[in-house]
Symmetry: C2
Subunit: 728 residues, 2 copies
């Protein structure tokens, strides 16, 4: 339901070249808009009087086109104007105020307030009479704006050569960034000055052939910045629909970013049909880093839920036949017997299994048992379907059929067993980025899921895109990801897409998109490890667009304990891993480690069993990008709270429980780093302490580097519970 509490529209019907000003509802933010002498749109942004974005140009550069008529020769058209970036005049401006509250199907808050002042500037290009509008929405915590192209005879179609949106920074800010790339987001974050990006990118590129950056100063969004006078700025986009993903390219002399859209095989960046619009470009800004995390701008700029019925969408906590493969103990594949697999021809029943296959009926049943014993919702199984012997690196078109199980995976028996235990199975569709192949099998694959009552699918897009030459984040491929989500909704299936384009709040519109990876996930802890700052950056970057299936919960940091051949180390303490369930909120949360590792630490595992997945309130208590995050969240439909803290370096957390219900005593169970905990040498040193707290309580806790803490808070219902517990 949607409460529209207040709307004001003021139409200024006079054309004017005078600068327009727009203030946020609380007046903290000010947007200024004008046309340059050349008729180029220019905007700038101020926060509490400080310049955040210096005057920055807006516009689109088009491809020229030839006049093409069916049944005739093609002739070159004279004078095709490729500029949608100058020679404009303002024909109209319109001001609107919206203040409404809406309820997401799942998320960090039960109610989301959408409160902004809007300025719509209607532009007309003087020579071509082409119309382009700029819509600015100024919230208390930032700006969203987009280009809109009304339906018009003079421009029914156009092709984008480049979007020329500038974000002119005021100086050489600190940045938390990953390099621009059309095909992967799975980078470790860098923290550096803007002026240092070029050198770091050049050095890294020499080391890894896979990284195909388009520019030495190209970076991905969401990009987190901090100015020397303490402003936090986040640049991203919202509602990426029918468009290529936006990268930013830095002029490291002027500190001006310009949009750099992911191209297709021809280098074209968007095929547009009017009416059309770009995604929203967002600038979240505050002098308090917590506001960046709390911002709902990205969701608010997306369209309301498009699904009539969402009753089938449920958050899920799950385990999976997965960490065994990620760590190298087991394999996705079944046999070494064939040089390559021919889907539809290779007869697996005649092949000798290599004995390392993870997705066996027997092994899956163990996970089902474990999930049922511990109150989980689901079990993911990877490697269940034929084709894994040669799925990667061969640009193989017919790589999987998404419906034929390996001989040792009895899909019917597993279905019955899971059902008898109250466990839902999570399907896995690795596409190997063979897009057409996946679409060809999609209906049958989803039908198979319906048949065996799998409510959710984890899809994967590892490797180079087929059709070759296309890029993971181009308009055409982005359209595929959304096609898969919409078609899944037709089958009442939830989607958790890995290696797809990073999210931009589309889960508001399609809440069956319950997760994405689209960043360097937990698996890298078994691929050489991630830096301790990683999980303190992700909430400021990747998570701005939506939840991440990060797969936390590693209890055994020494991966060689699982697989002697894997010498990777998970750079985190056990308490840090618990905290991630709260700091990296997601309606889909995995406990990624092996059941036997959880069984070694049943007291700590208790937190994973209890932690909620869906929230009615979230309070960001402490935050600094790359350094620390502390957040308290109230479990939806309950009176219980959960708190998480992660820290990249030694950190003393001081929290006040003022967010709790008044006059209520809570039993707080605190899972914290032990004094001698060390993410490298002593990661499993944790303490568990129970205390009583109220909304007057304060608490100081210490997190080590790569550490953190987690707290569960349950209202005291029986005084006997309080026995022996200290009050704070």
């Amino acid at each position: 339901m949607r409460f529209l509490t207040f709307i004001t529209i003021t139409i200024l019907s006079c054309a004017t070249a005078v600068a327009q000003e727009l203030f946020s509802p609380n007046k903290a933010l000010k947007l200024s808009f004008s046309l340059s002498a050349e008729g180029t749109p220019v905007y700038s942004l101020f926060y509490k009087g400080k310049e955040v974005v210096k005057p920055s140009r807006l516009g689109i550069e088009l491809f020229s086109s030839n006049e093409v008529k069916f049944g005739a020769e093609i002739t070159k058209k004279e004078g095709v104007n490729t500029s949608l970036y100058h020679n404009f005049e303002v024909v109209n401006t319109q001001n609107t105020t919206v203040d409404e509250t809406w309820q997401p199907v799942w998320g960090e808050s039960q109610n989301i307030r959408n409160h902004y002042n809007e300025l719509l500037v209607s532009l007309k290009q003087k020579d071509t009479h082409r119309e382009m509008n700029l819509r600015f929405r100024l919230f208390d915590d930032g700006l969203g704006f987009r280009y809109e192209f009304p339906e018009q005879k003079q421009m029914p179609y156009f092709v984008i050569k480049e979007e020329r949106t500038e974000f002119a920074m005021t100086g050489d800010h600190q940045a938390w960034w990953i390099p621009g790339d059309y095909d992967t987001q799975e980078y470790d974050y860098q923290q550096s000055r803007l002026s240092e990006i070029r050198a770091i990118n050049q050095k890294r590129r020499q080391a890894n052939l896979a990284q195909t950056g388009f520019s030495d100063t190209g970076v991905q969004t969401a990009l987190m910045l901090k100015t020397d006078d303490g402003l936090y700025i986040n640049l991203h986009e919202a509602a990426l629909v029918n468009y290529g993903a936006m990268h930013l390219n830095l002029n490291d002399k002027t500190f001006v970013f310009q949009s750099w859209i992911t191209p297709d095989a021809n280098g074209a960046k968007g095929y547009m049909q009017t009416p059309a619009q770009t995604p929203w470009r967002t600038v979240i800004v505050s002098d308090d880093a917590r506001d960046i995390l709390a911002s709902d701008i990205t969701l608010n700029l997306n369209e309301p839920c498009a699904l009539a019925d969402t009753s089938w969408i449920h958050p899920m906590k799950y385990v999976g036949v997965w960490w065994e493969m990620i760590t190298g103990m087991k394999e996705w594949s079944y046999t070494y017997d064939v040089p390559s697999v021919h889907i539809g021809k290779t007869d697996y029943t005649t092949l000798k299994p290599h004995g390392k296959h993870g997705a066996t009926t027997e092994n899956v049943k163990k996970y089902i048992d474990f999930a049922a014993e511990n109150g989980f919702d689901g079990v993911l199984v990877e490697g269940w379907n034929i084709g894994w012997e040669d799925w990667f690196g061969h640009s193989k078109d017919l790589v999987f059929d998404f419906q034929t199980p390996y001989p040792d995976f009895d899909i019917e028996a597993i279905h019955q067993y899971a059902k008898s235990k109250g466990i839902k199975m999570i399907m896995h569709h690795e596409t190997s980025s063979s897009i057409r192949n996946y679409e060809r099998f999609m209906d049958k694959a989803y039908q198979l899921m319906n048949q065996y009552e799998y409510p959710a699918v984890k899809s994967g897009y590892v490797g180079n895109i087929i059709p070759r030459g296309e890029n993971h984040y181009s308009q055409w491929v982005n359209n595929h990801y959304l096609y898969a989500i919409k078609k899944a909704a037709d089958y009442r299936i939830m989607v958790n897409a890995h290696e797809a384009v990073r999210p931009t709040g589309l889960c508001r519109t399609y809440p069956n998109l319950i997760g994405n990876e689209s960043a360097r996930g937990g698996e890298y802890q078994a691929f050489g490890g991630s830096k301790p700052n990683h999980v303190c950056v992700l909430p400021f970057t990747r998570l701005i667009g939506g939840p991440m299936d990060y797969t936390p919960g590693v209890f055994e940091m020494d991966i060689s304990k699982n697989n002697p051949n894997n010498h990777s180390h998970c750079n985190a303490t056990l308490a840090n891993q618990l905290a991630l369930y709260v700091t990296m909120s997601s309606p889909l949360q995995m406990a990624s480690d092996l059941p036997e590792n959880y069984r070694r630490f049943p007291d700590a595992f208790q937190f994973i069993k209890e932690v909620a997945l869906d929230w009615s309130e979230s309070h960001y208590l402490e935050a600094e990008p790359g350094a620390y995050i502390t957040v308290a969240r109230k479990a939806k439909g309950t009176r219980n709270w959960f708190i998480g803290n992660t820290a990249s370096k030694d950190f003393t957390s001081k929290i006040h429980f003022s967010f709790l219900e008044p006059k209520t005593t809570y039993v707080a169970t605190i899972y914290a780093d032990a004094k001698d905990a060390n993410y490298k040498t002593n990661p499993q040193a944790y303490t568990i302490q129970k205390i009583l707290v109220t909304n007057k309580s304060k608490l100081t806790l210490h997190s080590v580097a790569g550490g953190g803490y987690a707290i569960s808070l349950f209202p005291l219902t029986d005084k006997a519970q309080a026995k022996g517990l200290k009050k704070r």
Copy 2:
């Protein structure tokens, strides 16, 4: 059914570098194979002792590749050997003889003899131990050979940079050719010396921006050649499956052609997984041009029918709501009311029709009536479905949904009306080359056809391919065409694909592929006209691969009589148009002109009504590429014969009816050019004459330039029929 009458296998198990020789069953053809000093395979071909193909190298050039492993960094692999063209040794050779006869579902003969001697040369590359085989099949009328790549651990996958198959010609032959192009085959044929190709191509390219030739000496296959000493040579390919279409690039100093495969967006020419093979490369050769037309090599080199049940495949003679649009009298579209169409959003019922829409219920019913009155099988309707307002030239992804009729096309009423008249409707699916979009809707589109009992679909691939950067004849897009054919077979639907890759005999394996355009079709007679030689070249080039939906039967050559704004002229006499039904045999034949034009010439139209579509025998009586063709065919399941002759210049045809049954008198109805006929100034001047003939009869007939004649022959069953008829 397949009769395997004789097979001999001789295995030479010794490795040898000595040249191998292979003779055709009748010894007229000799193939020589050897390895060069560098270990490069070399073949040459002789016909009756004359060199046809000089020593020509064979091999494949590969792309280098990096070692890629999932979950690891990519490292450059040292020493990746990109040669599959040298350093080979012969490890085995094997000789086989096959002599079998098989029956096609439809075609030019009821029984096809497949008689060849085969040489299989097994090669191993000395340094890499990679295996590659060459399989040569020598028929009495030509050579087929292909590369085969056995399944092998040392080469499970490879990527083709170029196939290096040479066809070294012995001199500066005459050639009938069209320029190499990755996206269109709809060219007028050129006749020139090989040495003249470059200049002609350069000149043409300047005149037309749409033609994107890759080389000034690139030509398409099937390529027809004639040597100065009277040998006819045809170069083409058979069984183009999972590979890019082959062009030929000429070295016009040495007259050596080299294969030039259609690339993808990355320039790669084939992604191969062993076991694999290339299509067959064919060299049809004779000193009698009629043998080129009669050759069954292309079909014989394809796999037997893959469909278990073919009872639903039937030849069809049809009319259509089509020529009205081609000539510009009517339009495919419905309205001018919108700048562009949004499929699924645009509400046509609210739009003003422009009144020129061809596919109205009323108009379709007229064609159904006409078809029923004249014994036709079907009616094609183009422009029945929404989206035609802006389907072309905009690189529009969601361009059609293949299922929503325009408001004035009542699909249910038309279905019922057609059914009541015994007429089958032919569906039309223009894809605008938006491949993914078509595949997304394909099941629903075919289901709609089943629902309304459409037995056949004409599909179109006009415009640039989406995904952008792909080419019409690349491996990936060729795979789509075959996907569409196979899926159609699942729905018992016959396919007639226009603008798809030119055929290579795949109709043997998938006989529901009842037609292709894939060349400059009859429609160009309304787009400025085609040259009179065109239909005398096509049987030697385009038709080598399979039947063409040429859409003959134009009776009104002055297109301005249909549409005063169209000043095109059909460069043919009316008798020539009749002859095409026999000279350009196809199981799918259209009578393309307007019913009112047929009604003006009922006596001539009688031939179109009577002519058969499927044959038990074909006898090529006279032939010269680009000049004239005379063929007699016996209608399958009957005792009736039909003869056609077309001539590009004045031609005196002398035929002997020796192919007729002995001791039988036939009533021959001869539709010939009148003496004063002229394809430009007097095209409708024809004579119709009835005579009696037997297998002893001879006949001399005169065809004017752009003219021809057609003859129907029915056994005399009632002596009364013979009254007044002369005997020959």
